[in-house]
Symmetry: C2
Subunit: 599 residues, 2 copies
């Protein structure tokens, strides 16, 4: 297994050259996020990931984090690594300065988060969930609650969990059995008592911090049925006294941890709330607004899960390249000499497939992140509105497309290793196992596809989609004169046309059948992902082509960008047409399917 090397050059290329990060720096709140500052942050982040998180990735997988007698014992080294992470302030990068945050752009937080994911995804999940909780707190909690919790969460002194799922309620949260009852007493003032059990609670219990803040979704006892009856509550593991010190323990217990396919160092807990006297809880936001509050957290988390796809893919790619350079096998196709397998055309195909997917995925993640920053901080309302819609459109694609591809990319990395890839000691199998959860949690990819099709395409009759297509059109116009890019551009132009026809087909048929949207949504999402990927590749290649003409110092890097763009658009982009055909020619067969056929 290769040592993890944070892809700092790739990060800087995407942020600065491809996505014009300086547009964020131009915003007064982000005046500190200068190019020098960005480079310093990602360089230091890369070092930290490589030196602190990466070395305990495989040992964490082997040891796991387990519930023992009502406590969770984390894998060796995790507590110390988390402490360093916190001490270095990595969690507070993009957080509110009023509560100790550094106030830098979210996009910069994403840039270094890719490194946490690549170095140690099981560990990275812990601060990732905290960041989501901080968002929900910041947007919806009362000032009193913020004052108690926000600074500790932002500093990382306390972590957070996100408690939605119950054993009978996963994608559908309308029938939760955990209930909240209003209560009041001297010790806790006005509060609620929660009773119920939640499952799949990532980092729900652990020994890395002295307190854990649980965000729990539950209806009030007298709430109306369905998701509109849900409220969001905060429950500390230990009560917080007026002076900020910790008091008694709340009635919250870890019941067990799951034996999973991967991310074994991340404890996935069954949590029992209120098995004794009732767990003391405080409401965030208004009664019945729980799902809205939770979505603040989840939209954030969805981008970060897409990013996990990037981080793991990059890590697996690095392993594959290193192995391919070292493994001698067969004859060089041109010289006939014994050769490292990296010279074999089929191995190069696999590596370039990985690489060109990663470049596209990373660009998509950071592009969505920039819209996330601009929807909050752009300098006029029109721009804010534009990027709010753009962010909403890109979020489900980022989450689902990147997490579908990561399975393929990590699988290719395993394949490059041959039989050694199947041996756990090699380390690449762990990436393949870790990756598989990303398509499931934070909204399974089928849910993302439904969101894209129903809420983001059909509901506004394609307005947001058309606006994005206009951005693609303008790239095509801008690159038209560069003959070096004509093949890439031609492929993108055709794929964009087919995508637009497919979108129109979807809009025309959305009401044709009760099953129509569900029948075609996944294929539509995948088609759109591949087309957007080609768009980023064309832009990358255009930049690389310019820089090569100006005798760039890193010519290999720029040549690779052009090669990746050619490879992607000629060998992977054709899949977009296949997905499009599945929508247009195949959707009706899905509508006609009957459950009796599955025998």
């Amino acid at each position: 297994m290769a040592d993890y090397k944070a892809p700092v050059n790739e990060t800087l290329f995407v942020l600065n050259d491809l996505l014009n990060f300086s547009q964020l720096n131009d915003i007064p709140e982000f005046a500190e996020a200068t190019p020098d500052m960005v480079e310093a942050v990602v360089t230091e982040g890369g070092k930290f990931a490589a030196e602190v998180f990466a070395p305990i990735n495989r040992t964490g997988d082997l040891a796991g984090s387990h519930a023992v007698d009502g406590e969770v014992v984390t894998a060796p080294g995790f507590k110390e690594a988390y402490q360093l992470f916190m001490d270095n302030g990595w969690l507070s990068l993009a957080q509110d300065p009023n509560y100790g945050g550094q106030g830098l752009p979210f996009t910069l937080h994403m840039a270094v988060s890719e490194y946490w994911d690549g170095a140690n995804m099981a560990m990275a999940l812990c601060p990732m969930l905290a960041a989501g909780a901080i968002d929900a707190f910041g947007a919806h909690a009362s000032d009193d609650l913020k004052d108690i919790y926000l600074e500790k969460l932002i500093s990382g002194e306390w972590t957070a969990s996100m408690c939605l799922t119950e054993s009978h309620a996963g994608s559908d949260l309308s029938n939760l059995k955990t209930k909240a009852t209003p209560a009041v007493n001297d010790q806790h003032g006005e509060h609620y008592l929660l009773k119920g059990q939640k499952i799949f609670i990532t980092w729900g219990e652990h020994d890395m911090t002295e307190n854990i803040v649980h965000l729990v979704l539950a209806p009030l006892v007298d709430a109306p049925a369905g998701v509109k009856g849900l409220s969001l509550f905060v429950l500390p593991k230990y009560f917080v006294l007026e002076d900020g010190s910790l008091g008694d323990r709340n009635d919250i217990q870890v019941v067990s941890t799951e034996h999973k396919l991967g991310i074994n160092a991340s404890p996935t807990c069954v949590m029992a709330f209120g098995e004794k006297q009732g767990a003391v809880a405080y409401m965030i936001g208004e009664p019945g607004q729980g799902l809205t509050c939770m979505f603040t957290l989840m939209n954030h988390a969805r981008l970060e899960v897409g990013l996990e796809g990037v981080g793991l893919s990059e890590r697996a790619y690095q392993d594959a390249v290193e192995y391919a350079r070292e493994r001698i096998q067969g004859r060089h196709p041109e010289t006939g000499e014994a050769t490292a397998i990296i010279e074999h055309a089929d191995v190069q195909r696999m590596l370039m497939q990985m690489k060109s997917c990663i470049d596209a995925m990373r660009a998509l993640c950071f592009d969505a992140s920039i819209s996330h920053d601009l929807r909050g901080h752009a300098q006029n309302a029109e721009q804010k509105d534009y990027h709010a819609k753009r962010f909403a459109l890109l979020t489900p694609i980022t989450k689902a497309w990147c997490t579908e591809l990561v399975n393929e990319v990590t699988s290719l990395a395993l394949q490059v290793h041959g039989g050694m890839g199947y041996i756990e000691e090699t380390g690449v199998a762990q990436h393949y196992r870790d990756a598989r959860i990303t398509g499931i949690y934070e909204g399974a990819n089928g849910i993302q596809a439904n969101d894209l099709l129903g809420r983001k395409l059909v509901r506004d009759q394609g307005a947001g989609f058309n606006a994005l297509m206009a951005e693609l059109e303008s790239t095509l116009n801008a690159t038209e004169s560069n003959a070096n890019l004509s093949t890439i551009a031609t492929h993108l132009k055709e794929a964009k046309q087919t995508l637009q026809e497919t979108a129109q087909f979807v809009l025309d048929n959305a009401d044709s059948h009760a099953k129509f949207e569900g029948a075609v949504s996944f294929n539509f999402l995948m088609q759109m992902g591949f087309v957007l990927g080609a768009w980023y590749h064309l832009r990358s290649a255009a930049i690389a082509s310019d820089q090569l003409q100006n005798s760039a110092s890193d010519a290999n890097f720029m040549q690779q960008k052009i090669a990746a763009a050619n490879f992607y658009t000629s060998q992977l982009l054709p899949r977009a047409a296949a997905y499009g055909a599945a929508v247009r020619d195949g959707g009706k067969y899905n509508c006609e399917l009957k459950s009796e056929y599955f025998i």
Copy 2:
């Protein structure tokens, strides 16, 4: 996890209706293989797999089989299950009656082998390797060696291993360090002494039988370098005395077993030969003919590995269907009532994708098997020759296409389970882990693709390929008049045309660049796999359409075949065009790739 149910109806439909198994029954040697006999064998095989092998699949995964103090302790229940398997004569089904075999068609052996793979792939690997060794023995060993070993191998009293790989020699066997030295003495007569270490030896050591027969590939000490210097040797774990009883132990030791991603109950051994006085070996076939002999074994094993893809996919599909029927979540798209997720369109898409892939994969495996039977037993030389070439063409596609798809099918099964799929207790994650080796062993899929393109397409200038395309053409002609099939047939017709154009492109450019074949072979193989799959679907749908018109008793089954054919050709077959485009438009970018780009 669903109990495993052998898909007997599917097997009989493919064998009898789709592939006209009776053509084998018409051959005098196979006179016993009547329809009743076939039905009885697969029914009993199905019961055996479900009752004996399936119950120890997950326990075997948990316990594993491990080397302890120079012996391998197999997972609980494996020894007893193997004994029952042997007692029931399952191994001898298609073997030579001169050595105790039952002399039935190989295709029937494959039909039940799918059940062993689906029920317990780790276990099934043991008799699968023995079957390969029996083939190599039957084709190449001297009568003396056959007399000593063949009956015991056919009965299953002894198992066999296949020892090729060394740590520095996997896909490329030209530089093996294990060497054989001629020797002679009173105890063993003329023999060879082997010294060396082999890795990745599946079931190389275990406690299920009293003897193990190792087939080892190695050069003689004075052999010329390269694969032409390799010979094949047989080495028993215990020497066989003249009366057939077992004598002393040979100088062969298991060094360790690997910690793998999956198939944990199948011990993957590092084997040391001749660490003391030298391991006593006998040559099979002639000096320098080792690879030829081994290929007899490997071609056989390649079909069986493709079949593992089918068996595991079927098992995962059954789990997914059962879960989808039981899991209540969300609202029925038409009635709005709480519903099992099997009613959701996106879940139906996933299930039908799995199902339609499995149908196509199974048909391909058994079609290749029938050609295997006919190349040996057809009633005239012309037919034998036709099927020898057809078998050679279909083998790499069967191996690689089915083992690529099994990753996707088992992944979809996991996805249908949502978060539960990621929990090991559910059982579906095991299928995903077990499946991943199939694309690697018995010739990694890149090697299969090279074989298809170089040896099977280019070498005979497309003759075998054209013959197969003529078979597709005749199906298209025969179904032209059935309006119910016109959409399916139109899709196939277009895909066949594109495949033929792609093949012509490959033939025209094969010599254009030293890297060309390696650059396009994988995509060509995948394209061809998807087109062949559509061919089987059209034929299935044609049969189902006929049977429905004749008021078939199993209307749901026949409706499902038509639905699967429509789904496959409209939603999966478009991928063939994408792979074809990657060959035609993309091959040149692969030829232009440089190892320096992978940074």
